[in-house]
Structure formats: structure tokens, C-alpha cells
């Protein structure tokens, strides 16, 4: 077992200006937002340029980093003092963060380019690009910060960008609601992350990754470490749509499709995985927390898959799939150094193939007048070949078709899990089978079978600005997995940042292990089932009433219903009661006191009845009282 390398404070070279990665898109966002309508004409080009600029910086940093000795590959440097005595803002460039940076800027740039075409008819395209740039900046801040506060700022920054982009078509109430829901559910996770950060601070007196080495965290009790781990996991669950905070992701599909591709598939939702891997120093010494991470991962990968099986909305189907795939990553991240490389590897390949498919779905929608119901698709293969082919490549990658990207990374996770805990492993295999089913279902319903188009639909291939990104992404979907996993290339690359397991796993071009074969078999079975039900058979244009299980899946496993019953309704009641209590109780007391004095006054003044004789009486009584009192006091 090899621990991560020490973080070196060094601010030279290209890495020294790596903050440009964040600054460029941020600047882009600022210019586009503040510039207003004047920038409408060229705004989208600026957005793309800024994103590409960040990509260039990322690539250069990556090149510089790989040129260093492995134990020198974790570089941090301070930018400015943020909260004196607590936090200095700084960059951390290490294999883990640069991997993310490459993914974010790379895929991000492609999606920027794609969006030029996709959003060309939207009058607010400039604003869209501003938000995209803002997202890229925040996401980079999240992964490049050298401390938890910077991470948290980025964390919430992507949340904001996500909120803005989900609600981009805010005039649609559903979009506005979805945006709000995403933000609020994420806040629940953020709450956990926040408390986790507090605990780290009070326990260790620092929030910088450089200080929080395993030697340092080892000094704390396991209970504390478990607590930290679970709190961070809560944060991760929110951002990565893991159970029990998964409900927002499906609604988030209200946003424009490039947003779904970039934020809710490729990058932002994987931030939770990043957090868990980055916080390895805590998790690795808290087995309970790790176990919970794996359980959450498995539960979500199954839940997402089940949801994906029943969705007719192509984007929601993909969203369920995203949930499921992140579940895999989470599972991998919970397995310690042995799983990190596969988790991050899967994250990267997923970034490619899922973005590929989302953009493909966007291309389909673009062609079908924004229709999202797959029951209204069918037989699209001939009319949009590029989209279909790239989509199918992504599909093959995700179901783990041998030799394609997903095959290696997913297999890696399943194998590692199997070694770790057989039950988890077999459940993960089951998930892979489900993936085979629902993804095949999607392909058959969309591209094959009979036309079920709306009357006014005239599908056509999308413009080059949209198809080229698809092509590039599909290339990644094909080859990236093999490149990363074979020979443990990625594991070795990441090792300075996350450490290495005791023994490196063996990697094969094609695995013959029982798990690998079982996975393949189940996937094939799933695909076959899908073929029988959706390829060969007629697909009804209106969803038939399904069995209980179908309804269960269609309704997102009753997640929303549960939220509504457990949180929203009691919350509404609580709010009503609190408002009532405030008006009648607290304020009522104040006003009641005033009214009481007023009432007393009103009654007492009647005593002043205008008769001089009663005044005299009061004087007499008063005199008697005074005499009595004085005699009493005097004789005491």
C-alpha cells in the first residue's frame, strides 16, 4: 500500500498560472452578464473561447505535471488570504484535479460548441453561455482548490449555475420549480458537507488538503473520522443525486439538453465522487463510513437503473442512467485506493459517453421539435445517421460492450467490489444487466422500430456544429477506457494523489473472470429482452398502464411522494403553525399586553365618574389607607 505523496508548495511554470482556468470562464461570464445586449452578437463565441482557453491551460498544466517526478506531482500554491487565520485560497494541481480539469474543460468546450447550434434560436443564447461559463469556472474552482472552503465555494457555485441553467426557461413553471428543487435538495447535502468541514476544522485546525494527510487524520478517533466521512457523504449524495437525495436529478432535465449533458451527466453530478476520493484520508481510516459509501452507491445504481427502465422521456431515461452510473462510481470510491482509479476512470469515460448520448438526445429533440417522449420517436436511424451512430457508440460503451470504454471501467469497479464484498459485487452485476435492458430499450424505441412521430415532425440531421462534438465524444467513448485502464496506466497516474492499493489489479483486454462473464451474460439478456419488447414488438404511442413495478419505477421509486409525505406536507403545516403562532402567540402577547393596558385604562377611567363626592370619598379612603399604613409601619 502506498500513501499519497506530500503536497509541494510551488507556484512556478504553467501550473503557476493555472488559476487562469478559473479566471477565464469567470471573466467570460462577467462580460456576458454585465455587457448585456451589446454582447448578443458575439457572446457565444466569447463563451466558447473562454472555455477553450481554460482547456488549453489545463492541457499545458497536465503536460507540465506529467513531466515531473511522480512524488513532485502534487503542487499547491496560495493565491490570496481568504479568511485570515483560517483559510488561504490556493490551487492544488495534482493528477486527480488535473484529470477533472481536463474532463471539465474538454467535454465542457465540446458542449459549448454544440450549444452554439442547439441554442441558436433562443433569444437568450448569450445568457446561456454566460451561465455555462460560470458553471465551468465554479466547477474548476471546486476541483482545483487546495482546501475545503474553496471546494465548498465551487460546490455551491456549480449549484447556482445548475439552478440558473435548469431554470433557464424560467417562464415554464415546471422549469422554475425543478430549478428550485435542485437547489434546495442540494442544500440538504451542503448542510452535511458544511458540518463535515466544521468538524474537520475543530478537530485538526486546518482545512487545507496539504495539512490533512493520513498521518494527521490518523490522530483523531475513529468515531470522529466516521462522522466526518458520513457528513461528507451526505454532501456527496446531494450533489451526485445519490439516495436519499436523488429526487432532483430527474426534474433537472427541464433544463436545455446541453446543460443536462454537461452538468447533470458529465461533470457536476460527479463532484460527489471527487469529494469522496479527495477526502480519502478520512474515509480510508473509517471503514464504517466507507461501507456506507458503497451501500449508497449500490442502492443508487440499482434505483437509477430501475427508474431508467420505465421512463419514456428520453432525457429522464438518461438521467436515471446517470444516477445509476454515478452509483457505480460511488461504489468504487468507497472501496479505497483499489477502487479510486476505476471510479475516476469510470467517471471520465462516463463523462464522454453520457455527454455523447445526452447531446445525441438533444440532437434528436432538436430534430423532433423538442419532443422528448420516446414513444413518439422510432425509426430515426435513417434520417439522422451521425447522431444515431454516435449515440449507439455511447450506448455500447455504457452497457459495457467489450473493448469499449465503459467495459473496462465498469468491470474494474465490479471486480474490485467483488473482492471486497461479494454481495455488493453481485448487486453491481445485476445493475449492469438492468443497464443492458434500459439502454437497449432506449435505442430500439428511438432509432428503430416504426415511426411514431407527431404529425408535424420533420426530423433532419443536426448542423455540423452539433454533430462534430458528437463525433469527438464518441471517439472518447470508444477508446478512452482501454487507454486508461489497461496496464493500470490511470491508477499509476493517480497514485501520487490518492495512493495505491497493496497490490495492483491485473488488467485484461478481455476478462474471463466469473464476474465479467456473468456481467456480459446479464447485459446480453437485458438487451435481448429489450429487443423482444421494444425492437421486435410494436411500441404503443401512449404508455400502457404498467404493473406495480413499472409504476413504481415511473414514479421515481416514490421518492417524490415520500419527500412530499415526509417533508413537504409536514413542512407546510409547520410553516402555517409557525406563522399562526407568531401572529397570535408572540405578537398576540405583545398586542394583548397593550390591549390589556388599554382595557384597564378604559375601565379604570370609569372610576373618575365626575361626582365630586366620590372624589372626596377616594380622598377619605386614601387618607384612611395612609393613616393605617403609617401606623402599621410605625408600630412594626
Amino acid at each position: 500500500m502506498q500513501s499519497p505523496a506530500e503536497i509541494v508548495q510551488h507556484s512556478g511554470g504553467v501550473i503557476g498560472v493555472s488559476w487562469l482556468m478559473i479566471a477565464l470562464p469567470l471573466l467570460g461570464a462577467a462580460i456576458l452578464l454585465l455587457g448585456g445586449r451589446r454582447t448578443n452578437k458575439w457572446g457565444h463565441f466569447l463563451g466558447v473561447a473562454m472555455s477553450l482557453g481554460a482547456f488549453v491551460v489545463a492541457v499545458l498544466s497536465f503536460v507540465e505535471l506529467t513531466g515531473l517526478d511522480p512524488d513532485q506531482r502534487r503542487r499547491a500554491f496560495e493565491l490570496f488570504e481568504f479568511i485570515p487565520g483560517m483559510v488561504n485560497m490556493g490551487m492544488l494541481i495534482d493528477p486527480l484535479s488535473i484529470s477533472f480539469a481536463l474532463l471539465i474543460t474538454g467535454v465542457g468546450s465540446l458542449i459549448h460548441i454544440y450549444s452554439i447550434g442547439y441554442m441558436s434560436h433562443d433569444r437568450d443564447r448569450r445568457r446561456f453561455f454566460a451561465y455555462l461559463n460560470l458553471f465551468v469556472a465554479a466547477m474548476l474552482l471546486l476541483v482545483l482548490s487546495d482546501n475545503y472552503v474553496g471546494l465548498f465555494i465551487g460546490w455551491e457555485g456549480v449549484g447556482l449555475a445548475s439552478y440558473l441553467l435548469i431554470g433557464f426557461w424560467q417562464h415554464k413553471p415546471s422549469a422554475a420549480t425543478a430549478a428550485q428543487k435542485a437547489f434546495i435538495v442540494n442544500r440538504v447535502g451542503d448542510f452535511g458537507l458544511l458540518i463535515g468541514i466544521f468538524t474537520i476544522w475543530t478537530t485538526f485546525g486546518s482545512l487545507a488538503f496539504a495539512d490533512l494527510t493520513q498521518q494527521v487524520t490518523g490522530q483523531a478517533s475513529e468515531g470522529t473520522l466516521t462522522a466526518i466521512g458520513l457528513l461528507l457523504l451526505l454532501g456527496a449524495c446531494g450533489k451526485s443525486a445519490q439516495l436519499p437525495l436523488q429526487s432532483w436529478l430527474l426534474d433537472a432535465m427541464e433544463g436545455p439538453t446541453p446543460v443536462s449533458a454537461l452538468i447533470h451527466a458529465a461533470t457536476m453530478v460527479t463532484a460527489g465522487v471527487y469529494l469522496v476520493v479527495r477526502s480519502g484520508a478520512f474515509f480510508e481510516q473509517a471503514p464504517t463510513a466507507q461501507l456506507v459509501v458503497t451501500i449508497v452507491g449500490v442502492a443508487t445504481l440499482l434505483a437509477g437503473a430501475i427508474i431508467g427502465c420505465a421512463k419514456d422521456d428520453i432525457k429522464k431515461g438518461l438521467a436515471g442512467s446517470t444516477m445509476s452510473q454515478i452509483g457505480y462510481m460511488m461504489l468504487g470510491a468507497g472501496l479505497g485506493p483499489a477502487g479510486y482509479a476505476f471510479a475516476i476512470g469510470h467517471l471520465i469515460t462516463h463523462g464522454f459517453f453520457k455527454a455523447n448520448m445526452f447531446l445525441g438526445a438533444g440532437s434528436v429533440m432538436h430534430a423532433m421539435n423538442d419532443e422528448v417522449d420516446m414513444r413518439r420517436y422510432g425509426a430515426l436511424f435513417p434520417v439522422m445517421k451521425v447522431t444515431a451512430v454516435t449515440f449507439i457508440i455511447g450506448y455500447l460503451a455504457i452497457i459495457g460492450f467489450p473493448m469499449l470504454s465503459g467495459y473496462y471501467t465498469k468491470e474494474g469497479i465490479i471486480e474490485t467490489a467483488m473482492e471486497h464484498n461479494a454481495i455488493l459485487g453481485w448487486l453491481a452485476v445485476l445493475g449492469a444487466g438492468l443497464t443492458g435492458f434500459y439502454m437497449s430499450r432506449m435505442i430500439f424505441m428511438t432509432f428503430f422500430g416504426k415511426k411514431r412521430w407527431a404529425d408535424d415532425a420533420h426530423p433532419h440531421e443536426s448542423p455540423a456544429v452539433m454533430t462534430w462534438p458528437l463525433v469527438i465524444l464518441s471517439i472518447g467513448s470508444i477508446g478512452l477506457g482501454a487507454f486508461l485502464i489497461l496496464g493500470n496506466r490511470f491508477m499509476n497516474f493517480l497514485s501520487p494523489a490518492v495512493g495505491l492499493p497493496q497490490e495492483l489489479p491485473e488488467t485484461h483486454v478481455f476478462g474471463f473472470g466469473p464476474a465479467a462473464l456473468a456481467t456480459l451474460a446479464l447485459v446480453a439478456a437485458g438487451a435481448a429482452l429489450a429487443w423482444f419488447r421494444y425492437g421486435a414488438a410494436e411500441v404503443p404511442a401512449v404508455a400502457p398502464r404498467g404493473s406495480f413495478l413499472t409504476t413504481f419505477a415511473r414514479r421515481d421509486l416514490y421518492g417524490d411522494a415520500l419527500n412530499e409525505a415526509l417533508l413537504m406536507r409536514p413542512g407546510q403545516w409547520l410553516t402555517r403553525i409557525a406563522v399562526f403562532f407568531d401572529n397570535r402567540g408572540v405578537d398576540g402577547l405583545v398586542n394583548g399586553l397593550a390591549a390589556g393596558i388599554g382595557g384597564t385604562s378604559g375601565r379604570l377611567r370609569r372610576v373618575q365618574n365626575g361626582y365630586v363626592r366620590s372624589y372626596a370619598l377616594s380622598i377619605l379612603f386614601g387618607a384612611a389607607a395612609v393613616v393605617g399604613a403609617l401606623l402599621y409601619v410605625g408600630n412594626m
Binding site: 479568511i83 487565520g85 431554470g167 451542503d190 458540518i195 466544521f198 495539512d211 470522529t224 409547520l574 406563522v579
Partner: protein
Amino acid sequence: MPWLSILIAVPVLGAVGVALLPKGSDKLAKQLALVVSLVVLGLTVAMAVQFSPNGNRFQFEEKYSWIPSFGVHYGVAVDGIALVLIALSAILVPIVILASWHDAEGRPDATGLAPKRSAKTYFALLLVLEAMMIGVFAATDIFLFYVFFEAMLIPMYFMIGSYGGVQRSYAAVKFLLYSLFGGLLMLVAVIALYVVAEKNTFMFPELIGAIQDPTTQKWLFAGFFIAFAIKAPLWPFHTWLPDAAAQAPAGAAVLLVGVLDKVGTYGMLRFCLELFPEASKFFTPLVIVLSVVGIIYGAIVAIGQTDMKRLIAYTSISHFGFIALGVFAMTQNAQSGATLYMVNHGFSTGALFLVAGFLIYRRGSAQIADYGGVQSVAPLLAGAFLIAGLSGLSLPGLAPFVSEFMVLIGTYERYAVPAIIGATGVILAAIYILWMYKRTMNGPTAEPVKGFTDLNGREKWVVAPLIALIVAFGFFPKPLLDVINPAVDKTLTNAQVTDKQPVSTVAEKKGAGQ
């Protein structure tokens, strides 16, 4: 140069000047008021630059005997805490003046009739208020502090009562009486402090440590604290605030919630802790409970509001819970955070109230249900509202985050459970802000909203500086913290508290590493 006296005198003279303008010169009055407030701002900046954070605790000291018979001095000086709050006042006033350009005139469509109101008086009152706000933070004589503390109620009372909404007189009277009641209790404590201390002076620095007897401390603490708790306001003394803030014109509401209420939390930090350290420790559990209840309660009730200004007022009650929590957590981080919170909350709630005011000016209603889809017709307005709102929910990258983070982390160092419960306010904040935003700004554009114009030039000038400050201090709070930290350090020393140390520290390593 007697900076602080000048800062107090200039707005007073300005107010007199504005008030003496002939009838009908409303426009001139506004301009004059704006110029005066800008001059004050300039002077404040000039003073702030000369402040040396690591110098004496109190700087720019002035001390003259005022009423020798009572041992009262005209004593003014600032430490870091007071300085930032004075700066907050000086920044907000010109913005408020600009924002209130038409507020004093009364709109014809408000209640069917356009009441004739004197704009001149409004701006004169604003300037008087500014002088008192500066004075109350600058006072180092407790009696002088009390004088400003009470006297500043009067201009605000008239601003609410004369220029407010339909229920303005109820709100104004409630505001005045509630605050006055607290103030009078404090008066008893002030008198008792003087009598018991037997120092024949009200000068704050000389009275530190003067009261040793724990029982006496407790009583005096209670006297001061209730006044501050009403002013701040802490739960359950808060019910005047929603009424006052909802009825006050937006500009006055900004100063009320943004600055006036800070006097309460400032008083706790400055006077309660340092004068009565033992009692403060004794009452800490109670105050922390009140604060935490306030955080959650304010947020929940805010969610249930139907009136924008009331909603914002309730969010402030929640935020004041955070500030009080930070003050009484008695750690460096929490108290610095609380002080920073006072400033940031001024900007953030200020922006929120002002933008809400712009909305209300356009629609003539503060009811959330009367809006919908504003973003489609007035994107800038909506954007400003969103940023202000996001700062209200302490979004990282905006100023209030830093302070909320510091308060919570500082509280967590000593009182983990309250900090955790308080942190749930983070979630609730997202609900109340975003839900209000959604209901007003998103969705299909409501019929009466369709004619909305976007922000005009003046309104942009109102919003821009606030947003710029919110963003700037969100990423770079250091200038403020550098000023605040040494002052908080002194406060903690005088309150006889030391910071808790982490379980296993990496401090040595950090020192070597950086």
C-alpha cells in the same frame, strides 16, 4: 482632526440645511442630501484609511466633559468593530437616498389618493438618522451611547409613520414603544452601572472590569441585554420588526434593518460581554438557545409570509439569530464572523429591500401573489433581486457566506449542537429566498406585470454598488477581517475567554509549510 465629530456634525448640518430650504424645493433637497451623504462617505473613507488595525484599540479618540454632574463625557472613538459599522452606515445612506428619490412623494395608485408629503423633511430625517447612527457606534461613553440609542428612534419613527404604508402609524408606534421599553430598562441598568461602579464616569474603557460582583453583573447584564435583544431583534422580542419593516418605505427599512438593528448586536458584543464577563458566561446558554430558535423560527415563519417586505424582515430575524449566536459563542472566529455578518447583512438585506422596493414601486403592492414572471419583462431587475436573494441565503462567493461560515464554524468550536441546528437555517434560507423568487420572477408573466420597465439609470446606480460590495467581500473579505480581528481579540480578552484548541493540531506543520 476630530474625524468622528465631523462625521456626526456634517449630516446634522446637512439636515438643517435641507430642512431650511424653501417650500417646494424638493428636488434641491434631494440633491443636497445626496451630496451631504456623499461627503460623509468620503470623510469616512478618508478616516478609515488612516485607521491602523494593529494600533491602539480605540483610535480617533475625542473626549470632552459634557455633564460633569453626572460624570458624562462626549467621548467618541472607534475600534475595528465600530469602524466597519460606521462605514456600513456611511455607505448605505447615499444609496438609500438615491433609492428613495420618489419614495417620499407617495404614489397616486397606492391607496387611491396621493398624500402630499414633504420630501424635504424625509431627507432631513435621513441625514439626522445618519448622524445618530454614526454617533451610536462611535460613542465610548455609555451615557452618550444611550442618548444616541434612544434618540435615533425618533427620526426613524417619523420616517415610518409619515412615509410608510397603510398601517404605518400602528407600525411606527409599535416600533417606538417596543424599542423605548427596552431602552428604558437599559436606562435603569446604565444608572445602576454608574452607581455601583462608583467611578464617577461613564467612559466605557474605564468601566471595563468595574463590576466584579456576579449577582450585580447578572442584573445589569439583563438590563442591557433585553434592550439589545429587542433592538436586534432576537426571538421572542421580534414582532415589531416585520410590521415596522413592512410599513416603512424601502429606504427606511434598509436603514432600520441594515443599521439600526445592528446597534443591538453591536451592544451585546461591546457592552454586555466586556462589562459583564461573568454574567455573559452565565447567560450564554440562554442566549444561544434564543439565537438558535430565532434562526429556525425566523426562517420558517419567513417561508410562510405572503408579503415581500415582511418576508425579508423575517429572514433578518433569522440572520440576527446567527449574529447573536456568533457573539455569544465567544470564539475569535464566531465573533469576527458576527461582526462581519453585521456589515454583510447590511449590504445584502439592503439590496434585497431596495430591489423589493423598486418592484413594489412599479406594482403598488408588496404581496408576492401579485407578481409573477417579472424576469421575462425586467431581467435586470430580476437579476438584481436574485443576487440580493442569493446573498441572503449566504451563497458562497457572496459576502454573507463568509460571515455565516465563520459564525457557524466558530460556534461549532465550542457549541457543536447549536451550530448544527443553526446550520439547518442554510436549507431553510434556500427555501424562503428561492420560493419567493420563483413566485415573483418566474413562470408566465402576470397581466399587471407586463408593463414593467427594467431598472432605470438611477436604480442601477443604487443596486450596482451594493452588488459590487457583496461580490467583492464575498471573495476578498480580508480587508474587513483585518480590521475586525484585533478588535474582537480585545473583546475576548476583556470578556475573559480564550479560544478552544483543536484536538490534534496541524498548526506547527502549517507554520513550517507556508
